[in-house]
Symmetry: C2
C-alpha cells in the first residue's frame, strides 16, 4: 500500500493510495490515532472512488461518527486503465437494450463478472487498511448502491469482517444466492420508481437476504433520487451496529 | 372537554379527559406553557388509549421532543361502553375467518365502518385540545398502525391540520381512495411477514398515497413485531416535519 497524497479539510484527512493495480482513497478524522470502525464504500457504475455521492457520505461518516472510510476505483473506472473486455460488454449491452432487450438481466450479468475481481480486491484493501495505526482492526461496515450493491452483495457475503451493510438500488437476478449467505444487519434502499431495477426484483433481493435484522427503506423517485434523509438514517444505522 | 385526573412522572404530565361520549388522554411536558406540536395517536384493535405501545411512544414524543400527544378510546374500546353492532360484526368476522374466509377484506370493511365515527370524533378532539393554553394551534402529526392505520388514513385525508403521519400495518382494501387524497409526508411501516395484512396490499396502500414525500420502512417479522428502532425513526420524522 503506497500513499500518493494527503490533504485535510474541515477535520477530515484524505489519503490517496495505490495497492497493486488498485487506486483508492482513505478518509479518517484529522489527527486520528488508534482503532476505529471502518466503512468500505462501493461506487456506482460510471462513477469513481471520489464521486460526489461517495465523497459527501464519506465525509459525514468521518466527521460525525469518527469512522474511517475507504473506497477504491472499480476496474475500468476512475484512475484505473480502461478494461477492454468490460468496455466491449457494456457497449454490447447498451446496443441490446436499445434494441429492446430487458436491461436488468444485462446489468446483473455484467456486475457478476466484475464482482469476480472486486471481491478479492476489496478483501485485500481491508487487509491493508486494517494494518494502519489510525484505522486498526475495528468493526467494519459496507455501503454501496446500484453497481455498489451488485458488487457489494458478494463482497459482504464473502467477508466475515463486515458486521453491517447499507445496500440497495439492485435486483435479485445476479446476487440472490450471495444474498442468502448474508446474515449481518442490512439497511436496504429501494427507489419506488426506479427505471433501471424493476420493483419486484428489488423486493426479491431484500427478501433473499438471510439477515435476522434487515430493514427496507423505499422512497418515491427514480434510480438516482435517494432522498437526503437516507444519509442521516445510514449514519445512525452504522453508529448503532459499529460504534 | 372535562379533565378527570392529572398525574405526572418523569417530566410527563398525563391528563385523562372526557369529551362528549369520548374518553381520552393528553400527555404534555410537565409545566408546559404555550403552543407546541401535537401528535394524535390511534390505538390498535382490541387495545385502548393507554395501551403499552401507545403509552411508551407518547412518553418519548413528549419527553424528547416537547410535543403534546392525545389519544382517545375508539368506540367499544377502553373506558367506552361496548358497542353491540361492532361486537356482533367482529364475532361474525371471526367465525367467517375460522370458516376459511379471507381475513383482510373483513378487517377492512369493519375499519371503514368504525372510521365513519372516529373521523368526526378525532376532529372534535383536535378542536378542543388546540384551545388549551399548553397545546395551542401548532403543527399536528398523526401516528397509528393496524386499526390506527385503517382509521388514520381517512382521518389524515379529511383533516388539513395534519402535516405529517406515521402509518402502517394496513392494506389498501378499504382505504386506497382516502390514501389518494393524502399529500403530507408519510412514514409507512410494513411487517414483511405480517400474518394479518398481505404484503401486496400493504405495498398497494403505500403506492396509493399521493404524498410527494413518503417513505416505506419494511422489517421482517409478524404483525406485532415492529422493531424498537422504528420508534427512534418516528421521533426523527416528526421532529423533521413538525418542530
Amino acid at each position: 500500500m503506497r500513499f500518493t497524497s494527503e490533504t485535510s479539510s474541515d477535520g477530515v484527512c484524505e489519503q490517496l493510495f495505490t495497492l497493486g493495480e488498485m487506486s483508492g482513497v482513505l478518509w479518517t478524522p484529522e489527527g486520528a490515532t488508534g482503532t476505529r470502525p471502518l466503512i468500505v464504500m462501493g461506487h456506482g457504475g460510471g462513477q469513481h472512488k471520489k464521486a460526489p455521492g461517495i465523497l459527501a457520505r464519506a465525509r459525514r461518516f468521518v466527521a460525525e461518527c469518527g469512522f474511517a472510510v475507504v473506497a477504491v476505483d472499480v476496474p475500468g473506472h476512475g484512475d484505473r486503465p480502461k478494461e477492454e473486455t468490460y468496455h466491449r460488454i457494456a457497449t454490447e449491452n447498451q446496443a441490446r437494450a436499445e434494441a429492446g432487450e430487458e436491461l436488468a438481466p444485462l446489468i446483473a450479468g455484467f456486475q457478476a463478472l466484475v464482482a469476480r475481481r472486486t471481491v478479492p480486491e476489496w478483501r485485500a484493501v481491508l487487509d491493508a487498511v486494517q494494518q494502519l495505526e489510525h484505522v486498526g482492526a475495528g468493526p467494519v461496515g459496507y455501503w454501496g448502491v446500484s453497481l455498489g450493491c451488485g458488487l457489494g452483495v458478494p463482497f459482504v457475503a464473502a467477508e466475515p469482517r463486515i458486521r453491517a451493510a447499507v445496500l440497495g438500488l439492485g435486483g435479485a437476478l445476479a446476487t440472490a444466492e450471495d444474498a442468502a449467505r448474508i446474515t449481518v444487519p442490512v439497511e436496504f434502499l429501494v427507489q419506488w420508481d426506479d427505471e433501471r431495477v424493476p420493483r419486484d426484483q428489488s423486493l426479491a433481493l431484500f427478501d433473499a437476504l438471510a439477515s435476522a435484522e434487515k430493514t427496507l427503506h423505499a422512497n418515491p423517485g427514480k434510480h438516482g433520487d435517494i432522498p437526503a434523509f437516507e444519509l442521516d438514517s445510514a449514519l445512525r444505522f452504522f453508529s448503532r451496529h459499529l460504534a
